[in-house]
Structure formats: structure tokens, C-alpha cells
């Protein structure tokens, strides 16, 4: 079961160079303050996403898509709808995974790795990436976006990720893209579209029972 979470974690990896069109931000205080302010006023996020796994050596891609939901403080629902059905719900210290016909629950309190993965996901949505002690974070900016590049510090995270890149829109500080790189060079990006902020989201969406 832990393989699911570890594998999910492996998706999130990043390298130390900035993407094209971005320059390094030396003083990140302004970004941190801005993200904290946005986080205060953000209660829910919902969006569609398109995920593409890039297999470098195979020169091929695997596409999938679904729905993403976040509810303050610590609830996330990632629902794949095509080409397969898969549901991942994080709620506090609990994670629920539902695939074809089976539901599994995981208590992250029993595993440091799972706690870390859970925290990464939450930090990306709450704008608290800079506070994550498992990663060193570098900031870059373009005209319209911030790029937060998370490089794992501890050995367990290093085994799971090469790096995680979080792209944020400057206009509303929402995550627009996540790029999760593996050590072998493959990477997965998730592009978020049709974002809706502070709409009513039922707690039932985040049920892990």
C-alpha cells in the first residue's frame, strides 16, 4: 500500500536550473508574504487537470486527466477520470485511495515518508512551500508566473524525487502547473485549468471512510 504513496511522491521531483524565461529571485520574502496572504483568503480550490507522463528514453507520453479539489486546511481530492478511474483523497493524517474496485486507507502518522508526501501536496496548495523542511526551495519569476523549485534534502526524499517544480500565477498565486521529475530523467507534469476559488465544496468530497 505504501508503494502507492511512495510512487505518488516520486512524481514530484525537480532540478536546480530555472525554466526558460525565468530568472532567479534572490529575496523570497515578498513571494512568501504574498503567498501567505493569498492562503489566508483561500478556503477552497477546484480545477480540472491534464497530466502527461514524459518517458524520456522511450520518447513517448502517457496522458490522463481528471478533477482536483482542495479545502482548507488539509483536504485534497485528486480524481482521475480518463483513461482510467482513480481517486486519491488526503484528509488530515489520513489518505484514501480507490482504484477499479477497491478502497484502501492509510494513516500517514505511521510513516514519515507518507507524512512528507502529504505535506508536499498540502504546501503546494496552501502556499507554504518555503516552510517545508524536507526540501530546499529556490524561487524564480517570469513576467506572469513564479516558479518554486523544490529539491529534496533528506535521503528518503532524495530517493523518491529528483525535484518538484511548482508554477504559480502571479495574478492570484494559484498553482497552474506541477512538474515532478524522477531521477532517471522521466517527468510528469500536471496542468491545472478551469480553476475556481472559494466555491462551496462539500466535506463529503474529502471523506476517507
Amino acid at each position: 500500500m505504501s508503494l502507492i504513496i511512495i510512487a505518488a511522491a516520486q512524481n514530484f521531483s525537480a532540478s536546480a536550473q530555472a525554466a526558460k524565461g525565468f530568472t532567479a529571485v534572490s529575496n523570497t520574502k515578498t513571494i512568501e508574504t504574498s503567498l501567505a496572504s493569498t492562503a489566508k483568503s483561500t478556503n477552497t480550490i477546484s480545477s480540472d487537470f491534464v497530466q502527461v507522463k514524459h518517458m524520456k528514453m522511450l520518447n513517448d507520453k502517457v496522458n490522463s486527466k481528471g478533477k482536483f479539489y482542495f479545502k482548507k486546511e488539509d483536504k485534497i481530492r485528486i480524481e482521475y477520470t480518463s483513461p482510467f478511474q482513480y481517486l486519491l483523497v488526503m484528509n488530515g493524517g489520513q489518505i484514501m485511495v480507490r482504484d477499479e474496485n477497491k478502497t484502501n486507507k492509510i494513516n500517514t502518522r505511521n510513516s514519515k515518508t507518507m507524512q512528507s508526501v502529504n505535506k508536499v501536496m498540502m504546501d503546494c496548495m496552501r502556499g507554504t512551500v518555503f516552510n517545508n523542511k524536507d526540501f530546499s526551495v529556490k524561487a524564480f519569476e517570469s513576467k506572469g508566473q513564479y516558479l518554486l523549485q523544490m529539491t529534496p534534502i533528506n535521503s528518503s526524499m532524495k530517493g523518491l524525487f529528483a525535484k518538484i517544480e511548482v508554477y504559480l500565477e502571479k495574478t492570484d498565486n494559484t498553482v497552474t502547473k506541477l512538474v515532478m521529475s524522477e531521477n532517471g530523467g522521466d517527468y510528469t507534469d500536471m496542468n491545472f485549468t478551469n480553476k475556481k476559488i472559494n466555491t462551496t465544496l462539500s466535506d463529503a468530497l474529502f471523506s476517507v471512510r
Binding site: S2, L3, I6, A7, A9, N11, Y80, P83, E182, T188
Partner: protein, 219 residues
């Protein structure tokens, strides 16, 4: 008492030696059949994979996406990744069917597990088999199923086919016990992979269920 022990021991030894495939009748097909005929031919295939099992007292369950790609007649890659994209394992075979582990996540990097998965895929993709089957057998005249036998390094594999040249199942066994049973649904013509493949590891106690995904594999 001594007589009782002798009888018990005899029964035990006899039961150990009991063959699981009995009353075989070797048959000759009207058309010749080689491993190349059975080998699935595809450019790439995508399957939803669900794995269930038990290790000691602990149950495990996980799922992902299985990606298989053939590079002409030269090589094959099999990549199993989580729904979120991270790689569980990435295996390959070169033009001589030599096996390569390109990557495998630490938690799965166990020689016994790699050997088991390698054997599964080699049976499914008909790799490292002799050019000709060792024999073709029928065990039950009523079913008219042909058991196409290839020897493996340990034990053997039967490709079980109907008279219309469809693969119904694949069984790996030795003389006394079945080890792996793969069932195809629906049955797949020779040279094709079935839409649903259910793999049961009878001794290791885990199952792999594969269901073909027919979209969203993009260049």
C-alpha cells in the same frame, strides 16, 4: 502401527508425485506452430494494472498503468507506473531477449520479485522460448483444447489454445504443481494480447489483473 506408518508415508509420497497434467495425448496440428506465431505483435499497449496479495500476515494492494512498447523485432520495454506517473519498474529485452532492468523503485528491488516479474512478462510476451514447442497435447477430448508446451529453465509453460488458434490461458507449472495461471478474456488470437489478463501466482499468493486501456497513448 508400523504398517499404518508405512501406508501413510506411501500415500504421502504418492500424493507428492501426483502429476497435475494427466492423460495427455500428443497431437499433430494441421498447420505448423512456432513460438513466433504465438508472440504478441504490437507497437505499444497500455493496461490498467491492479496487484493484490499477502506478504506474511500483511495484505497489500496497489495499482498503476502498465506500458508496453515493441521496437520492431529488436527490443521490448515494459514500464509499470503509478497513476500519478512515477515509475515502479522499467524492464526491457534486447533483440536477443536478454533482460535488462532499466529502473526499479527501492521497495521493489528484490531479486526474487524481479525474477518473478521477468518470468511473467516472458511468458506473456513469448520471450526466451525455444523456436518450436516441445510438444502439443490434449488432455480432454471434449474440450478440444491444445496445450502447447515450452520448457523453461525450471518447469514448463503451456499456452492453452482453442481450435480457432486463440489463446485461452497460459499456465506455468512443474510436474507436481501449477505455479502461475494467466487467463485471457476474451480469448486472444495468436500474436495478440487479450483485453483482460488475469495472472494468479498460486504459490506466491498474489494476483495481477490487467485491463487494456484503448486511448490516450500519445506520441
Amino acid at each position: 502401527m508400523r504398517y499404518f506408518l508405512f501406508v501413510s508415508l506411501s500415500f504421502f509420497l504418492l500424493s507428492c508425485n501426483k502429476k497435475i497434467y494427466q492423460n495427455s495425448q500428443e497431437i499433430q496440428l494441421s498447420q505448423s506452430l512456432t513460438a513466433a506465431d504465438l508472440k504478441p505483435k504490437f507497437e505499444k499497449e497500455l493496461y490498467r494494472g491492479v496487484i493484490d496479495g499477502k506478504f506474511g500476515l500483511k495484505k497489500f494492494h496497489f495499482s498503476g498503468v502498465l506500458y508496453m512498447k515493441n521496437f520492431g523485432d529488436t527490443a521490448t520495454r515494459v514500464v509499470f507506473q503509478s497513476e500519478m506517473g512515477s515509475t515502479f519498474f522499467d524492464f526491457g529485452w534486447d533483440h536477443k531477449d536478454s533482460f535488462i532492468v532499466y529502473s526499479i523503485m527501492e521497495q521493489m528491488n528484490k531479486p526474487a520479485l524481479i525474477k518473478t516479474l521477468k518470468k511473467d512478462f516472458e511468458m506473456l510476451l513469448v520471450k526466451n522460448m525455444a523456436k518450436q514447442p516441445k510438444g502439443i497435447y490434449n488432455f480432454d477430448r471434449n474440450t478440444r483444447e491444445n496445450y502447447i508446451k515450452f520448457d523453461l529453465e525450471k518447469g514448463f509453460v503451456y499456452y492453452i489454445a482453442d481450435i480457432s488458434r486463440n489463446i485461452i490461458a497460459i499456465e506455468n507449472a512443474d510436474e507436481s504443481k501449477k505455479v502461475v495461471v494467466m487467463k485471457m478474456s476474451p480469448v486472444a488470437p495468436f500474436g495478440q494480447l487479450a483485453d483482460k489478463i488475469s495472472i494468479k501466482h498460486l504459490l506466491a499468493g498474489f494476483t495481477i489483473d490487467l485491463k487494456k486501456i484503448k486511448q490516450d497513448v500519445a506520441e
